[in-house]
C-alpha cells in the first residue's frame, strides 16, 4: 500500500482492503468509462410459481442465501437507533461460525454497539458505512481488522452501481411486506415511512431477504421494494423499537444560542434573496435545522409565498408546512417522526425518494443540485471553508456522512454551527478530516458572525447592507481562539483506520489511528 496525495492535498492510500483506489481528483473531475455492474441473471423458474417465498426464519433465509466466509452483507438504517435486525443477522452468522464478513449498512447507530464483539472475534472483518458512537471509537483506536470505508448515501448507491461493492446478501427490514417480497415502510408496528436506502441493494444484491414483522396478503401496496427482486421472505417477531425508530430527536431546539443561529440563517437567506416564491430548500432533522425551517415559515407567511418543494428528512414541522400550503411537495429521503410517516401514507404530494433520484453520481442527473438552499451541520470547518462531519477535533470517528456530501451540490450551502462547543472551537486552520471541499460550502453562520465564502461574490454583494454581522472566516476563527485558547491538534499514528469517499467513489481523505496516551 502506498500513500498518494490527492487533489485536496490529503495523503490517501492507493489500496483499501486489498482493492485499488482512486485518489480524489476534484469536484466533477472523475468520469469513469465502464459499464454498470450487473447482478446475476435470475430465472423465475427457480422461484415458487405461487409467489410464496416465505422461509421459516432469518437463519433459514441466510443459510439458503449461502452465507459463508468473506461475504458482504448489507442492512439499512430505516429503524435508526431502534434497529433490531442487523444485530440478529450477525448473531446468526456468529452462531454458524462464519468469519470475515463485510458489513455494508446504509448507516450505523449506537444500538449496533452489540456488533463490537463480532469485530473482535472475526465474524465481521470490517464495516463499509457510517461508524457512529461506540463503533467509531472502536475503529479510531485501530482495533478493526480491515479498513473502514465511509460513503455518503449517494456514494453508497454509486459504489453498488459501479460494482465497487458487490453485495452478496441484502437483508431488508420491511415494516410491511407480502409473501412475494413486495414491501413498504408505511404501516405496521415498525413503520418508518420509506425504504429508499434499500433500493440499490434490492436491485443489485446477489441474494435479497425481506424480513418483516407485519406480513400481509399479496399484494402489499404500495411496493416501495419490488418483490420481483426478492429471493426470500421471513417473518420476525420485531424489527425495531418504535420509540427509537421515530425518536424524540426531532424537536426544535430551545437553546437561545441555537435559536439565534437559526434565526440568523433564515435572515441571511432572506437578505440574499433566496426565499422567494417557488424556491426549494432542504434542512436536516437536528434541532437547529428544524428551527431554521420554522423561521422560513414565518418569512414565507409574511411574504405570502410558497416553496415549490422541500427535500426531507420529513418531520412534523415540514408536514405542517405541506398541509398549510406553504410547500407544494415534500421529496422525502427519510421520515423522522410519526407525522412524517402518516403524511407520506396519506398525501400524494409527500413523495418518497431514494438516493438514486436524489444523490446518485451515476444517475443522469439528480435532485441535489436543483435545491436552492440546504442547511447542514458540521463538526469542524476551516478557513478555506472545508468541512468535516465524521471526526471530532480529538480525532475520533463519531458520525456518518449521510446525505451531507451529496447536499453540497445545492445552489447555496449554509452551515449554521456554534463558534465553539464546550471550549472546542469549530473553525480551525485545517479540518481534522476533509469530507466536503470548501468550494462547495458557501456560508458559515455562527452566533457571533456570518462568514461568506469569497467565491460567492453574489452573496457577498446581496447581503452587504443587510445589517447582518458579516465577518471573515479568519475573524471568526480568532474570536473562537480568543475565548477558548488556541487548541492543540490531535495526534495520530500512521495507520489508516478508515477512508472517506467522495461522492464519485474517489478517496478524499483518510482517518488515522488516534494516538493513545
Amino acid at each position: 500500500m502506498k500513500l498518494l496525495k490527492n487533489a485536496a492535498g490529503r495523503m490517501v492510500p492507493d489500496q483499501v482492503n486489498g482493492r485499488e483506489q482512486i485518489p480524489y481528483k476534484g469536484v466533477g473531475k472523475y468520469i469513469p468509462d465502464a459499464n454498470r455492474h450487473a447482478p446475476r441473471i435470475a430465472s423465475c423458474a427457480n422461484y415458487p410459481a405461487n409467489g410464496d417465498k416465505r422461509l421459516k426464519d432469518l437463519k433459514a433465509a441466510l443459510e439458503k442465501s449461502g452465507l459463508r466466509d468473506g461475504m458482504t452483507i448489507s442492512t439499512h438504517h430505516h429503524f435508526r437507533n431502534g434497529d433490531l435486525l442487523a444485530n440478529q443477522v450477525f448473531d446468526i452468522a456468529h452462531e454458524m461460525g462464519v468469519k470475515d464478513l463485510t458489513w455494508f449498512p446504509s448507516a450505523s447507530f449506537p444500538c449496533h454497539e452489540h456488533l463490537v464483539q463480532y469485530l473482535e472475534d472475526g465474524t465481521i472483518h470490517h464495516i463499509e458505512g457510517s461508524m457512529n458512537g461506540p463503533l467509531g471509537q472502536y475503529v479510531s483506536e485501530g482495533r478493526m481488522n480491515g479498513t473502514g470505508v465511509l460513503r455518503s448515501h449517494g456514494g453508497r448507491y454509486q459504489a453498488v452501481q459501479d460494482g465497487e461493492v458487490q453485495i452478496d446478501i441484502a437483508v431488508i427490514g420491511s415494516p410491511t411486506a407480502d409473501p412475494f417480497g413486495n414491501a413498504n415502510g408505511l404501516s405496521g408496528d415498525s413503520a418508518c415511512g420509506l425504504l429508499g436506502f434499500a433500493l440499490a441493494d434490492s436491485q443489485y444484491a446477489d441474494q435479497v431477504i425481506v424480513a418483516t414483522d407485519n406480513l400481509v396478503e399479496f399484494p402489499c401496496i404500495p411496493w416501495q421494494i419490488q418483490g420481483n427482486y426478492v429471493d426470500h421472505v421471513v417473518e420476525v417477531e420485531r424489527l425495531g423499537d418504535p420509540g427509537q425508530i421515530v425518536s424524540g430527536t426531532t424537536r426544535i431546539t430551545r437553546s437561545p444560542d441555537r435559536l439565534m443561529l437559526a434565526e440568523l440563517t433564515a435572515r441571511f437567506c432572506d437578505a440574499a434573496g433566496i426565499i422567494r416564491d417557488g424556491f426549494s430548500f432542504q434542512s436536516g432533522a437536528g434541532g437547529t435545522s428544524l428551527a431554521v425551517g420554522e423561521y422560513f415559515r414565518q418569512i414565507m407567511q409574511e411574504k405570502k409565498i410558497r416553496a415549490r418543494f422541500a427535500r426531507g428528512g420529513s418531520n412534523q414541522y415540514l408536514v405542517s408546512m405541506l398541509e398549510e400550503g406553504l410547500v407544494d411537495y415534500i421529496l422525502d429521503g427519510q421520515t423522522f417522526d410519526l407525522d412524517g410517516v402518516r403524511s407520506m401514507a396519506e398525501n400524494p404530494n409527500h413523495v418518497w425518494t431514494s438516493p438514486f433520484t436524489s444523490y446518485n453520481y451515476h444517475s443522469k442527473g439528480n435532485f441535489a443540485g436543483m435545491v436552492d438552499v440546504v442547511i447542514l451541520g458540521a463538526t469542524e470547518v476551516d478557513t478555506s471553508f472545508n468541512a468535516n462531519v465524521v471526526t471530532h477535533s480529538d480525532g475520533s470517528l463519531l458520525h456518518g456522512i449521510g446525505g451531507w456530501q451529496n447536499c453540497l451540490f445545492s445552489k447555496t450551502v449554509i452551515l449554521p454551527i456554534p463558534l465553539f462547543r464546550d471550549r472546542i472551537p469549530v473553525v480551525k486552520d485545517r479540518v481534522t478530516t476533509l469530507c466536503g471541499p470548501g468550494e462547495l460550502i458557501d456560508v458559515i453562520v455562527t452566533e457571533r458572525g456570518i462568514a461568506i465564502n469569497p467565491l460567492r461574490k453574489d452573496l457577498v454583494e446581496a447581503t452587504r447592507d443587510s445589517g447582518l454581522p458579516i465577518k471573515t472566516i479568519e475573524e471568526l476563527k480568532s474570536e473562537a481562539e480568543r475565548i477558548c485558547g488556541v487548541p492543540r491538534s490531535a495526534e495520530f499514528e500512521d495507520e489508516v483506520v478508515a477512508v472517506i469517499k467522495w461522492v464519485d467513489g474517489t478517496i478524499i481523505d483518510a482517518v488515522r489511528k488516534v494516538r493513545q496516551e
Binding site: 437561545p256 444560542d257 471550549r423 477558548c484 485558547g485 487548541p487
Partner: protein
Amino acid sequence: MAGNTGDKVRSDCRIKLTLAEKGGIVINMESKVTVMYGEANLQLVREIMEFFGIHHATIDIEDSGALPHVLAARLEVCIKKISNTRKEYLLPISRGEIVGGEPGRFRRSRLYLPGNTPAMMINAGIHQSDGIILDLEDSVAAERKDEARILVRNALRNIDFFGAERMVRINQLPLGLEDTAILAPHGVELILIPKCEEDWQVHEVEKVVSSTLEKTGPDQQIFFMPIIESALGVENAFRIASASKNVVAMAIGLEDLCADLGVARTAGGKESFFARTRIVNACKAAGIQPIDSVFSDVTNMEALLENVKKSAALGFEGMGCIHPGQIRVIHQGFRPGEPEVEKALKILEAYREARKNGLGVVSLGSKMIDAPVVARAEQTLQLARKYRLIK
C-alpha cells in the same frame, strides 16, 4: 471541592483538592478537551498552585470544557476553603470594553444569569440585552456563595458581554458587603441591592465601594439599583431612590413583595398596583429610572408583551429577563409608537422655533408647551433614536 459535574453540566469543572505533606503536585484530570487543552490546563493548575505557594497536593479535576477563568475560579475556591489566604489569582483582563459612566443609559432589559453556572454566561452578550446581571443572591445555593463570588469576579474580567452593562446582584446585607468588596475592582458597572428597605443600606454598599476603589485604584464609577421587595421598602421608596447620586435606577421585585403583603401575585397585578405606581413616582421624583419586575412565564411571549406595554404605560423604563428569548419582546414593548414620536418631533421643532424668535411662551396648535413637556419629548426622541425610528 468546588464546581459542578454531571451529564448536563457544560463548560464547567469540579475540582477536589487534598493537601499533602510531600510528593509534589499530583493532578488527575479527566477532560472532554484533553487533546486540545489538556496541556494548557495542567500548566494553569500548576501556575495557580505556585501562586498560592502550595507545593504538595493532589488535585482531581473532572472537566467538561471549562474555560480558563472557570478552572481558575474553581481551583482558587478549593484553596481558600483549606487555607486562609486573601490572595487572588487573576487572569489578565480579556473582556470587552466597559461602557460605564452613563447614569442615564438605557436599562430596558437586564438578563439574570445564575452566578454559579458558567455555561450560561459565555454567550449571554450575544442576545443584546441592555444589561447582564450576574446573580449571587437567589439563584445561588447558600453553600455555594463563595464559589459563585469568585466565578463572577473572573467572569467580569474575562467575558465579553458586547457592551451590555455589567451588573451584579449581591446578596442581602451583610453578606452583600463582602460580595461588593471582592467584586468592585473588577469591572462591575452597576450593583443591584436586593431587599432594600432603608436608605442606609445603599450608604453601606456605597461606603464599601468607595473604600475598595480607593485602595485598588480603578478610576470608575459604580452605580446602584436598589430592589424594593417589601412593604417597608415601598414606604421608603423615595428616600432610597434619592439616597445617593449613584442610585440610577430602582427596581421592584414582585414575588417577595407579594409574599410580604400576604397576597397572591396575579397576571393582572392589581394587588401590587399601589407599590408599582409608588416606585414609579419615587423614581421620577428622584430623577432615576423605575424598573419593573421579571415576568416568569418564559414560554408565553404574547402575555409578556402585554405585560411590558402595561408596565411602560405606568412609567416603568425597563424590566428584568430570566430568558434571552424575552429580551426582544421587552424591547418591542418599550418601543415608542409612531404618533408619539411624531408629536415629540413637532414639540421640539416648535420649541426651537420659539427660542429662535425669543418667545417665552411656546405653543403647538392651541396647547401650551412648557419645560416638562419638552423634556418628555426629548426622552421619547432619545428612545426613538435607540430604536432607529429617527436619525
